[in-house]
Symmetry: C2
Subunit: 170 residues, 2 copies
């Protein structure tokens, strides 16, 4: 194998990893969207099980956490940083008023589109660089804590809450 | 960069990616084990929410599905194939008798140990080969459907059910 061949193999290999992670991320989104499309706004305002979070809170939580990837991965400016206060820093029922379900639905759809656009543009090599919440020193020691690892982690996070959301039937 | 350097970069890159996926898998197991260690056998026999699966059913389901990776990834003989009938092919409450909770706990712990051993021994290159549920033709077209992709998928699957299990408090 010559040098160019090896360099190509490395590039293709990285592109394959990225595709595996991004496609698993998209699979979770597809499942969540399938569920969401069948649920009325009124149902979304109910807890997913007795005494548990309301579905609308979990939806807001997923928007806020996933939106956080935009800054964490250095992709650009976050779309909805104001949602952290309502859906990340505080538990459900802390505030009397949260955004209407219709607004959250639109934000969720828009965020997924924006993230997909960013992910499609990010070069495979870039995914293996450090994200913005780890120091240079830590990253030198633990190079697996890269941008792609954040997406793996956020995909698991979405799957975790999807398992709860689907308790609410249409 | 010389040829040997490139070959090393490819190998290191693959090893890094395997480490990312396996460590995210282990993280889900740690979380599940943390929850499991605090839950009594009696609590495990209860549904995670009204009208939903019993926690013990979900535990059996996770054992069966994760055990299935042993054959799917060509690692060896499955440990508990008999659990498929009870926990994969049929919904909860199909059978009057399921194995005692203590037995499932022991199987879960043993399976995780066995899988960790297999994963530690499997070479990075091997992870990028096809698994046993995809044809040569399909794999040639879709090389991202490799062994490692199965582990990414099963990690999301475990996260999904973990989100449900933790509804049951100690």
């Amino acid at each position: 194998m010559n040098m160019q061949h090896e360099a190509t193999a490395l590039k293709e290999s990285r592109e394959l990893f990225v595709k595996m992670v991004v496609s698993n991320w998209e699979l979770q989104n597809q499942r969540l969207n399938g569920w969401l499309s069948k649920i009325s706004d009124q149902r979304l305002s109910q807890p997913v099980a007795e005494g548990k979070n309301r579905a609308v809170y979990l939806l807001g939580h997923l928007i806020a956490v996933n939106d956080g990837m935009i800054s964490l991965l250095g992709l650009g400016e976050r779309l909805y940083p104001e949602l952290d206060e309502l859906f990340v820093k505080n538990p459900d029922h802390t505030f009397d008023q949260i955004p209407p379900v219709s607004e959250l639905r639109a934000q969720w759809a828009n965020l997924n589109q924006v993230l997909s656009g960013y992910f499609a543009e990010l070069g495979a090599e870039e995914w293996f660089k450090k994200h913005n919440a780890i120091s240079d020193e830590d990253f030198a020691r633990e190079p697996h804590r890269n941008k792609l690892n954040i997406l793996i982690n956020r995909t698991n996070h979405e799957a975790y809450h999807l398992g709860q959301l689907i308790f609410l039937k249409a």
